[in-house]
Amino acid sequence: MKLDSFNFTVPKELEASAPREARGERRDHARLLVIHRKSGQIEHRRFYEIVDYLRPGDVVVLNISGTVPAALPGVTSDGQEIEMRLSSHYSSNGNGSGRIWQAVFKPDSAVISTRLKLSFGDGALTATIRKKRERIPKLWEIEFDPSDRPIQTWLAQLGRPIKYDYVPDTWGLDFYQTTYAAVPGSSEMPSAGRAFTPELLQQIEGMGVALAKIILHTGVSNIDIETEQVEQHTMYEEWYQVSPEAAETINRARATGGRVVAIGTTPTRTLETVADEQGIVHPGEGWTSLYITPGYRFKAIDALVTGLHEAKTTRLVLATAFAGDAEVVLKAYNEAIQQGYLWHEFGDLSLIL
């Protein structure tokens, strides 16, 4: 599919510039763009009304990875002031204990090259650029110099949440967490679940809908597709974990006619990574670079909650693949723009079923 098919412009005023709570609104009052795959029908609802679309026996799959303050302000050995945004890291278990990480650098004009030295916290933490990642735009491999403290601790001390230009103010890490985040490790919030309040989750469980919790530690999100055909893009690896309990909950729901409702593209990619051809989900952990493009046959997912995505993102490509009809997605997005839906991590959501 041509990248141009995923090209549209979101008006500036529809970029969510602050958390909904900052405007005195509840998280679960985000708007919900409901897209029915079979009929192409589109509905405009609120997120808390998601209960209208769930049935007893369904299972809602949440990514419980928590956001870490992954942006480190620092200087390079040639005097450039930069911000290093840590993305996935290389270590055996995804907990960030290793010293080799992947990162992108801000500003975009920063000149980064192999063997460049980096200094953070006035030299308290130092690192060296190893190499540019092949075939993946913007991404570099870096190595922290040995230190007496784990990187996690340094992040807590020196880091801040990754923030984009459409958010003028600084918001604490709590604003960048889902209410059910439990295992820190994501560079950016798995934001499809941001609108869930504990009360809403409780209500959903009370309906006889199961909750299954998986982990996928996200990397940085703003790596746009630059290839002419979207399929030619390469995704970087992210660490996931599906526990035996989660797999069992999901498989049991499916076996008894329930639907698997993935909250976000991260649980979707995780489950599609560990599912077999029959859609049975197997417990496991590891790294996935699964890139889902139109034409992909979903094995494990029956419904998808996801944000409103920008053009040229792998997340929009995934949503379009799940919807199965590029025209329906475009139509729904056009309606969302007309109706003033908000984009990005503090914005509104869509439910595709």
């Binding site: 599919m1 041509k2 098919s5 795959r37 079979k38 009929s39 192409g40 493009t293 139109p294 034409g295 992909y296 046959r297 979903f298 379009t320 693949a321 199965g324 009809d325 590029a326 025209e327 329906v328």
Partner: protein, 242 residues
């Protein structure tokens, strides 16, 4: 019969007759349907019928025997739906009407028949194949005829193109073994269609079958129950779900 929500079927020659009935049958089973014909007016009418029943339908005017048209057709289908699960080569022509005996067949008419009924389906199959191989699954159905099985007088030209298509079906099936792409042939029987009327000009064909009554086997082959079938030939009017 129900198909997966994201099943995509492309049917050539689907503005009228059997192709139109197949488009309705697949839409009723829940598939997304790409319809195609050379004539815009009839195609648009069929598109509206399908859309009115809530089907997701894409209509492309194209000649399914011309490489540039075929490329355009497949590209549009992929751009919109991302995949093609089923290709039904339903487009075809009868040839001159009234039907000449072989002794009287003009070479250019014969060439035209083979181009439309045999070469077109081969070119269509070639064009969808990269997508189906990527998907590791796909179903191609060639619409054949009992005239391709038996040498009836006056049916030698048309029959030869359909006999060739049956052989091509078997060859494709053998060549694609193990790829997940399946190729089958279906004889739809004698139908109440414009084409059949052309074969029997001036005759009453009202006793022939309604094309809407012979669609079951076409859809069944795309369901999980039919998923292992390849290289086979079916007579649609006699089909009963196993």
């Amino acid at each position: 019969m129900r198909l997966d929500t994201n099943t995509v079927v492309l049917i050539t020659g689907s503005s009228k007759g059997l192709g139109r009935a197949l488009a309705h049958a697949y839409a009723d089973a829940g598939a997304r349907v790409v319809i195609n014909a050379r004539g815009e007016a009839a195609l648009e009418a069929t598109r509206k019928e399908l859309q009115a029943k809530g089907a997701q339908v894409l209509a492309i005017v194209a000649d399914a025997t011309k490489p540039t048209d075929i490329e355009h057709l497949i590209k549009q289908a992929i751009e919109r739906f991302g995949r093609i699960d089923v290709l039904i080569n339903s487009a075809g022509i009868l040839g001159p009407s009234p039907r000449p005996n072989l002794a009287d067949f003009v070479a250019s008419d014969l060439a035209e028949l083979f181009r439309a009924n045999t070469i077109g389906p081969i070119l269509m199959t070639q064009a969808v194949l990269p997508h189906m191989l990527r998907q590791k699954s796909g179903l191609i159905i060639n619409v054949t005829s009992d005239a391709g099985q038996t040498g009836y007088p006056g049916w030698g030209g048309y029959g030869a193109t359909k006999a060739a298509l049956e052989l091509v079906t078997e060859s494709w099936s053998a060549e694609l073994e193990g790829t997940g792409v399946r190729v089958n042939a279906i004889n739809p029987g004698d139908l109440k269609t414009e084409m059949h009327q052309l074969a029997f000009p001036g005759e009453d064909i009202s006793d022939r079958l309604d094309p809407f009554t012979v669609t079951d086997v076409f859809v069944w082959l795309a369901t999980p129950a039919g998923a292992s079938v390849t290289g086979q030939r079916y007579d649609a009017p006699n089909f009963e779900q196993p």
